[in-house]
């Protein structure tokens, strides 16, 4: 097999046990793992395949056996839009199943410029070390003096030691104190900026005594049709910028601004936008990863109050969501401080905030007592207590800190007393919205079916939320268009065949309340969205390309195939790319089924309140028909009613060989 253009050409396998490395040409590696790049691309595709081949039974995630896989894709580090991303995979310490997360900034492209598409880290070092990938030269360095340092200091010390020749030449992916203390939801962080947030890989790095991976890449990535790639990329960005309904607002204010328009926020969109106009919101500029035309980072500075002078690159949706909704922190200065703190400590904001929020519930119900909390009165809205708990968790200090460091699933199992029935997780992983039954159906369904356990980033489709009646007044104000106009535009922009659109949305091209409040078409739309997400996570590119405001109307498979073909010289089509997404998603499902036995019985919310009638929202007064939707979803996916991919589906996806030892339902 020859190596297609667009790939750096090598795989780096690092064994920490004996501090040895192996560099394999990627075609040889592909052959070893039975990977056809046209079927798996890179990123999540190859991570899934590697995990599948390397782990046929469950392992203890903190054992040296676990692997950290950093996988770029053919898209990464080229001149395609949003090419700064890679995926990082491992066995997830929280669920014991498939784990991966997307991250960006400049580490992924630097790895590729160093000549590596994939880096796999195995084993466990005897003492704290970090690895330096200096183009093709790889060295192991002592990290005992850096162990215990938080994110920013770690990056600075490593860059200084390695004597980078200009700032940002060396990129550092590091774990922080939470990872060192094996907090099960600790992600690594790259250059204090970007984290594969939900992977738990920071703790896996901690378990391997691996403080950081530093990389300097001075090479280049070959392309099949460089000028063609530039033209296609330019046109794609132009179309995106000219048409995407939210892009203007987004580009003026960054990721969080337009949330008020489409989502049900406790803080109204008006406040968000107008605060910024008055410069009360300490936003200085938008900042992006490599080749990003619609940057999501805010460069923030707190001007007044307790944290005056603190600057931070962030302002991300997840932080804002959990701060406002789950933690009750209302003041901007407080939540920026909180965001920076979590990044410094290495804590996943979603899992941490849900753990804290759940602990408050338990405290209020008397399940946790002052004795358990060591005298702290747990409550929402008090940023000081919340930040103190974040520190205690990161260092596993005290009873409660240690308890919550394992996440709500384990913590609730330990303390019992009914706390399991209010624990917001699926398959051991926390999801961010608290009350799934008042949320949009598709968003919640995504938490049930995500291969990472309770999660929203493998689906994140907000069509129902965005067009609810109570949001409609905000559209003319912020977008200069009515809600109905935006709906129609979005429907046109949605990159899917007309036939499929008709199946999902029916005949109506208008905002259809009946559709929004019904389960009709939702399972089908969910399947399509999940496949699309699996696709761009395999390319690898950013979710904000296809889903700026989670309407999936940005870059679609048509654009992806046009640009990918210019990079690689292939002739992939829309259908082939969507099929890749489907293949990857199915193998992730099978992986979890094989090692964890996850099937229909596990596609449930641990928080039993999800199965009560909703007090408000689309399903007001009704119980959400979860099972009905799930069964429809399984049937569309070609899975059995137990939620297991059937032999027929598997053969159709070309996975027959890899799964032949597995006992699967036949299907038709």
């Amino acid at each position: 097999m020859s190596i297609p253009a667009g790939y750096a050409g090598n795989v780096l396998i690092i064994n920490l046990d004996n501090e040895k490395t192996e560099i394999l040409p990627i075609d040889k590696f592909w052959a070893n793992y039975g990977i056809d790049p046209k079927q798996w691309l890179g990123g999540d595709g190859v991570i899934t395949k590697i995990l599948w081949e390397d782990f046929s039974t469950a392992i203890e995630p903190f054992s040296p056996e676990n692997e950290i896989i950093i996988a770029t894709g053919p898209w990464t580090a080229t001149a395609a839009p949003q090419s700064g991303r890679a995926m990082l995979g491992c066995i997830d310490p929280k669920t014991g199943g498939f784990g991966s997360g997307s991250f960006g900034w400049f580490f992924p492209s630097m790895l590729k410029y160093a000549g590596f598409d994939i880096a796999i880290i195995k084993g466990k070092a005897k003492k704290p070390i970090y690895v330096f990938i200096d183009d093709r030269k790889v060295s192991f360095r002592d990290a005992s003096h850096i162990w215990g340092k938080e994110t920013g200091e770690t990056v600075r010390m490593i860059r200084e030691e390695l004597e980078e020749r200009y700032e940002g030449e060396i990129r550092v992916l590091s774990t922080s104190v939470a990872g060192e203390h094996l907090v099960k939801y600790s992600p690594p962080c790259s250059d204090g900026t970007t984290c594969p947030g939900r992977s738990g890989a920071g703790a896996v790095m901690g378990s391997k005594n691996l403080k950081a991976i530093a990389v300097r890449g001075t090479g280049e990535v070959s392309l099949f049709d460089p000028r063609g790639l530039l033209e296609s990329s330019y046109n794609a960005v132009k179309t995106f910028v000219d048409n995407e309904p939210f892009i203007k607002l987004w580009r003026e204010h960054g990721a969080t601004t337009s949330l008020g328009t489409t989502m049900d926020w406790p803080i109204s969109g008006a406040m968000l936008v107008e605060n910024r106009k008055e410069a009360d919101f300490p936003h200085l500029k938008n900042v992006g990863c490599l080749d990003c035309p619609n940057p999501c980072y805010h460069w923030l500075q707190i001007k007044e109050g307790k944290y005056s002078g603190l600057r931070h690159l962030g302002g991300h949706m997840t932080f804002l969501t959990v701060c406002l909704r789950n933690l009750g922190i209302q003041e901007f200065g407080e939540w920026i401080h909180y965001e920076r703190l979590l990044q410094e400590l290495g804590l996943d904001p979603a899992s941490f905030s849900m753990a804290y929020s759940w602990a408050v519930d338990c405290f209020e119900r008397g399940i946790l007592t002052l004795d358990d909390t060591e005298g702290i009165t747990l409550k929402r809205g008090d940023a000081e207590i919340i930040c103190e708990m974040a520190r205690r968790i990161a260092y596993r200090q005290g009873k409660l800190g240690n308890l919550l460091a394992d996440g709500v699933a384990e913590a609730s199992q330990k303390i019992g007393k009914g706390s399991e029935m209010i624990a917001p997780h699926v398959k051991g992983k926390e999801y961010i919205q608290r009350d799934v039954k008042i949320q949009a159906l598709m968003w919640s369904l995504g938490a049930l079916t995500s291969p990472r356990g309770g999660d929203w980033l493998r689906h994140h489709n907000v069509w129902e939320l965005a067009f609810q009646p109570e949001k409609r007044d905000s559209y003319p104000k912020f977008l200069g268009k009515t809600c109905a106009e935006v709906y129609e535009e979005s429907l046109k922009l949605l990159d899917m065949p007309d036939e499929l659109k008709k199946k999902i949305f029916g005949d109506s091209q208008k905002v259809d309340m009946e559709w929004i409040g019904d389960i009709k078409g939702k399972a089908l739309f969910s399947v399509w969205t999940e496949n699309l997400v699996a696709l761009f996570n395999s390319l690898v590119t950013c979710m904000f390309g296809s889903a700026t405001m989670f309407l999936m109307v940005g870059f679609g498979p048509t654009t992806y195939s046009e640009i990918l073909n210019k990079i690689t010289g292939w002739d992939t089509s829309y259908d082939e790319l969507m099929r890749i997404g489907e293949r990857v998603f199915n193998l992730q499902r099978l992986f979890n089924y094989r090692i964890k036995g996850w099937d229909h019985k596990d596609d449930t919310f641990a928080d039993k309140r999800a199965y009560e009638p909703a007090q408000m929202g689309i399903f007001k007064g009704k119980v959400v028909p979860w099972d009905e939707v799930l069964q429809e979803y399984y049937s569309i996916r070609g899975w059995s009613s137990d939620g297991i991919p059937t032999r027929a589906k598997i053969d159709e996806l070309g996975l027959g060989d890899v799964t032949k030892k597995l006992n699967l339902p036949e299907g038709d």
Partner: protein, 176 residues
Amino acid sequence: MDEEKVIVFDPHYCSGCMYCMTACSTYNNGATSLSKSRIHIVRHEGHAITKMTDEDDLIFDVITCQQCDQPYCLYLCPVLAVERDNETGALMINQDKCVGCRMCMVGCPFGVILYDLNRKQVVKCELCGGDPQCVRFCASGALQFLPKNLAHLQKRDRLARKMIQLRSKASEEEPI
């Protein structure tokens, strides 16, 4: 030649995405890289390398050929390989003449002439034949391609507006 255009950078708008660099290397080298780009984004990512309590900053700046009117690179070249393009005003390296002596690199006050190890010759920004790809791909508007005599306008206007804002705020309290 007042109409000669040059690349103008306004750090206020730069998002640090470096699309300018990947577009440059892709267009000029046929492969994407940062190291071989003829335009370079200088970065200071204070947030990434400090403790929470430290003061820090996030700054992007750009370094690329200014297409000088009095070009040291051209004066220093012993084989007259640096030539001015009559159409675009760009300073070009004539690859048939360049002997790889790197004297132009010594002369350039900005360090923007690169040495290509494969070709054993120097390379520099030649304005992509009059349609610089860095400017074309700059989505934030930080890079512009403007006539030399208008290069100052955007920055001056932005600053002037800020001054007006400050004055009007101050005049609410006491007349200036």
